[in-house]
Symmetry: C2
Subunit: 200 residues, 2 copies
């Protein structure tokens, strides 16, 4: 655990990308990853899944007496293609299969978010969807992108904010949501829970 002691906002996630998004708008969040079982439950929709994991992550960390802070942010991101949830690929074969199945078409990136206020026990949560178009990919492009190492810890096997930008000509919706956190919605929820507005 890397904890910034004075942080009032704690990100219940190990994702450097989520931390970077908060830092981009001036929020120096503490980091405390929550170890949560990410298995999709039977009958659970993608939206239900990401919001459940987001809530669990935020509450698990907020429940830890050794972690200071007031607002706890949980989040989870999945890629959905034709109703199928694509998580993080386990190996190169699965990563290549994911990229082939996303190439030349549109898919949806769904991020859940939950902000838990330790002061009064309230949680605000929700999901945000962004449609993403991936260009047609050659086998050489897929092999070389895998060789870069970037796909392996990313839902859907690509990073829009990294080298993966080469394959995304178009999105519809929130861009930070594809990176891993719907920034505007998270900021609005923080304000609703009494956090000082961004520029106060």
């Amino acid at each position: 655990m890397t904890m910034i002691p004075p942080a009032q906002v704690v990100l219940a996630s190990a994702s450097p990308r989520r931390r970077e998004l908060l830092s981009q708008v001036g929020i120096a969040a503490g980091i405390c990853p929550a170890a949560v079982d990410e298995t999709v439950l039977p009958g659970e929709s993608a939206e239900q899944h990401v919001v459940r994991l987001s809530q669990t992550k935020a509450r698990v960390v907020a429940a830890r007496a050794d972690v200071p802070g007031r607002w706890f942010i949980g989040s989870d991101t999945v890629v959905v293609r034709d109703g199928t949830i694509l998580g993080k690929p386990v190996d190169a074969v699965e990563a290549a299969a994911m990229l082939r199945c996303l190439a030349g078409r549109m898919h949806t990136v769904i991020s859940g978010y939950a902000i838990h206020d330790r002061a009064d026990g309230r949680t605000i949560s929700g999901t945000v969807s962004t449609r993403v178009w991936i260009k047609a990919l050659t086998e050489m492009e897929i092999a070389a992108y895998l060789a870069s190492g970037e796909p392996f810890d990313k839902a859907g096997a690509y990073a829009i904010q990294g080298i993966g930008a080469f394959m995304v000509p178009r999105i519809e919706g929130s861009y930070p949501n594809v990176v891993g956190l719907p920034l505007c919605e998270v900021l609005a929820a923080l304000e609703q829970l009494g956090a000082p507005p961004l520029f106060s």
Copy 2:
């Protein structure tokens, strides 16, 4: 002028954001800003304007015998609201006016691009438009965003890749295009002009 000697790709722009976008996908471009008059000509549409400036920038730099390189990229980005082109604000009063006029509604970001091949004199150029939604802004948010200094060298007085992310819940189109360069289109044009593919 900062020129990276071995660069085959030269960016005819001083924008660190455009350079960063190319670097994100592995292209170490040389930088050679072109001093070009950016006045909008009478009767010129936003698309005509950005493509003309892009072509001029690319060709002006390609014509310089002291600048090595083969492919010269020119680009220009404007923000258009209800048919009015918003460039870079000249002062805080104009920046505040631009932000007020963009708040709570949709506008269009248009980037022109031109890639000039010094080897055979060919130029490929085009424009890409992205629709951007800005949330309603309070006067406190506008004043504080101005105080950050970020709006002053940005078309439309905001930076989607900076603090300005707090106000953009949605886009439709290319994200790097809003940052300043339509990456997929530029990469395709480079390949068409004989540049080695990204992953070769």
